[in-house]
């Protein structure tokens, strides 16, 4: 039987409305053959985590350009842990200064993609590092 499609959620935590990157990525993921769920803007960490559980996704991509990633990304990963979700890969993008990278990795993000990254780079990373969960 063919491997099922990768289920990917693109999420916009916080009040940030800069959604161009998130929308472009959602399209790109669809074209890459993934099943895509895009949350739209203005999701609380709680809403995102409950959507992750409900939709049973393999990968969660967070996008924030307002500077609030320092609070929001760790808030999402902490809630995931609290719910016992430990097999969803979390990646992040947006305006993330290099000095914040370590804190993001420490919070459990597996990759950070910043401005100038090609779509292909992101898809290649996902195909290499994320497999549909059994």
């Amino acid at each position: 039987m063919a491997e099922r499609k990768l289920r990917v959620m693109v999420a916009k935590p916080g009040l940030d409305g800069h959604d161009r990157g998130a929308r472009v990525l959602a399209r790109c993921f669809r074209d890459a053959g993934y099943e895509v769920i895009y949350t739209g803007c203005h999701q609380t960490p709680e809403q995102i985590v409950s959507a992750v559980v409900q939709e049973d996704v393999d990968l969660l991509g967070l996008s924030c350009l307002s500077g609030a990633h320092r609070y929001l990304y760790p808030a999402v990963t902490k809630l995931l842990k609290d719910k016992g979700v430990d097999d969803v890969t979390v990646i992040g993008g947006g305006i993330i200064p290099e000095q914040d990278f370590q804190a993001m990795y420490d919070a459990g993000l597996k990759a950070i993609f910043v401005p100038g990254t090609t779509l292909e780079t992101i898809v290649t990373w996902i195909n290499t590092n994320v497999k549909p969960r059994a």
Binding site: V24, A26, A75
Partner: protein, 562 residues
């Protein structure tokens, strides 16, 4: 006919010779850039050469005319920039009110001639800093304002009867404008003397910027309230700045920006007219616009020239306006944030300068120039000063302001202006057929058109079909780093303390009464502005006012179209 028959005939002969020579040369070149890639950043195809043939159907009086004369292709102002330069208006706001007030005074000292306020996301979305939804955002993308007390700190030492202030505020525009009115009253200045702009354009929020509160219909109702209140009581105020900027930043083409913005403008005019309280010429002269100036130099100039012509036609033909002042499209411009790159950030100075020059040649009346560091953070003092100097330099040194609309009559500029106008009208008519912009938004039409364009552009960048220097060509191996302006996380705690202190000291009963009165007014369909002014004076917060709207009108959630 714009040209004598003989001119066109001789042009046609000479053209044949030129085309033959081009063909000969091109056939020898091995790796020519494909024809289709000689196009604008928005993918409008551009020809190798423009000639009299391209504008032979134009009529001087009908299409080009004079500055200050219909259809205003050459500008609204008879004197151009000789009467007055465009307003140097840098968009600024960060951290708390005191920090932003200090930046404002610095900019005024450096020769800025108008103020413009950036609010943080909680303020923009109508939440107080202590709302759980606001966590982590305080002061990050602009200044945090919760109550009138913050607003008074923000405007401290700013003479509100002399300086005009623009506020980029949309869902809570009524609340923030009410604060401005209250602050003027406290300074002893009558409402008839204050001038400025509230962005207050919700349609483009649904389409692009996504600071959202209530559904489209009540959102437009609140906007019409401000238009009515301004027309009757605050005559120097621009109660709406119909904005294409964010549409473009969200990834639209230049034509989409032009079409969706102008169709939004028409929607607002139609809603005010539907209320049958105001004649079109009482309020239309105060409608203002806001465009993006992107990196494609000529496309931007032509967009602005076409915009004035479309608006003049719409006002006279669609709304039977009789007053010339209603026909003028007055607009502010901001250079394109999305054209800047995180890589090699100093190159951004050059991009911004090019875009600012396009805005000036397009006849803007007010301009914000982005700072080189704005891809990464809010601008530092150092970066914002270069940005301000960029426009001062264009005004004072380059000669660009010497003569009005210097590119008029150029075969290329006139042909591209015509083409963009035509394509914009096609979109406008399509949206008319859908039943207007609110209906089009409900169908997701403009949102998905923009998504198509944004995705296409990203793939063109990835394949290097379109070039961004430092990103997909001329890439440096060495990393260029610039200092970042950091917004301290402790500002959030301090702002929450200030807000809670205001709540403790205010007369709670009076505040609750104001909110109840506002709620009753919303339910009865009355104009909310007088109630808002009372509410902010009683120290009701931005969120308390917006919660009333959310309760009465319902809350709108981003449908997440892509």
């Amino acid at each position: 006919m714009y040209f004598a028959k003989e001119v066109l005939e001789s042009s046609s002969k000479m053209r044949q010779r030129w085309e033959d020579e081009v063909k000969k040369l091109v056939s020898k070149w091995a790796d020519q850039k494909p024809e289709a890639q000689w196009s604008t950043v928005s993918d409008l195809p551009i020809k190798r050469l423009y000639t009299p043939d391209d504008i032979k159907d134009m009529e001087f009086e009908r299409d080009i005319s004079y500055p200050g004369q219909y259809p205003y292709t050459r500008g609204n102002q008879v004197t151009g920039y000789r009467g007055k330069y465009w307003t140097f208006r840098m968009f600024s706001g960060m951290g708390d009110a005191a920090t932003t007030n200090a930046r404002w005074h610095m900019l005024l000292k450096e020769g800025q001639t108008g103020l413009s306020t950036a609010f943080d996301f909680p303020t923009l979305m109508g939440y107080d800093t202590d709302s759980p939804k606001a966590r982590g955002e305080c002061g990050k993308c602009g200044v945090a304002i919760d109550t009138l007390e913050d607003f008074l700190v923000l405007t401290k030492g700013v003479p509100l009867d002399k300086i005009t202030t623009s506020m980029t505020i949309n869902p809570p525009a009524t609340a923030l404008w009410a604060m401005y009115c209250a602050a003027a009253e406290i300074q002893g200045i009558p409402l008839t003397k204050i001038g400025g702009t509230i962005q207050n354009d919700m349609l483009k929020e649904f389409i692009a910027q996504k600071t959202l509160m209530c559904p489209p219909e009540p959102s437009v109702k609140l906007i019409s309230d401000t238009v009515e209140f301004g027309t009757l009581h605050v005559p120097r105020w621009n109660t709406i700045s119909i904005s294409g900027y964010h549409i473009r930043e969200a990834g639209s083409t230049a034509v989409q920006e032009l079409a969706f913005t102008l169709r939004d403008g028409m929607e607002y005019v139609e809603d005010v007219l539907r209320r049958k309280k105001l004649d079109v010429d009482t309020f239309a002269p105060r409608l203002s616009f806001f465009f993006n100036s992107h990196i494609d130099f000529f496309e931007e100039i032509c967009k602005m020239r076409a915009a004035r012509r479309i608006w003049a036609k719409a006002m006279t033909e669609r709304y039977k306006s009789k007053d010339e002042r209603s026909w003028w499209m007055r607009f502010h411009t901001q250079t394109a944030g999305c054209s800047l790159t995180a890589q090699q950030p100093y190159n951004n100075v050059v991009r911004t300068a090019t875009e600012a020059l396009a805005a000036v040649l397009g006849g803007t009346q007010s301009l914000h120039t982005n700072s080189l560091d704005e891809v990464w953070c809010l601008p530092s003092d150092f970066a914002v000063q270069i940005a301000l100097r960029t426009q001062q330099l264009i005004a004072e040194e380059t000669g660009a302001a010497n003569t009005i609309d210097p590119l008029a009559g150029s075969y290329f500029v006139e042909a591209l202006t015509n083409e963009m106008e035509k394509q914009a009208w096609d979109y406008i008519h399509k949206i008319d057929d859908m039943g207007g912009m609110v209906a089009a938004i409900e169908k997701g039409f403009p949102q998905l058109e923009i998504s198509d364009a944004a995705y296409k552009f990203q793939r063109q960048i990835d394949s290097a079909e379109k070039i961004m220097v430092g990103v997909n060509k001329y890439v440096s191996t060495e990393k260029e780093t610039i200092p970042f302006l950091e917004i301290d996380d402790k500002i959030e705690t301090e702002q929450i303390e200030r807000l809670q202190a205001v709540r403790r000291k205010r007369d709670s009963k009076a505040a609750m009464k104001c909110l109840n009165d506002l709620k009753a007014a919303c339910k009865k369909g009355e104009n909310v502005m007088p109630y808002c002014i009372e509410a902010v004076k009683a120290l009701c917060s931005v969120q308390e006012i917006c919660d009333v709207y959310r309760e009465v009108y319902g809350e709108y959630r981003d449908p997440g179209l892509y």
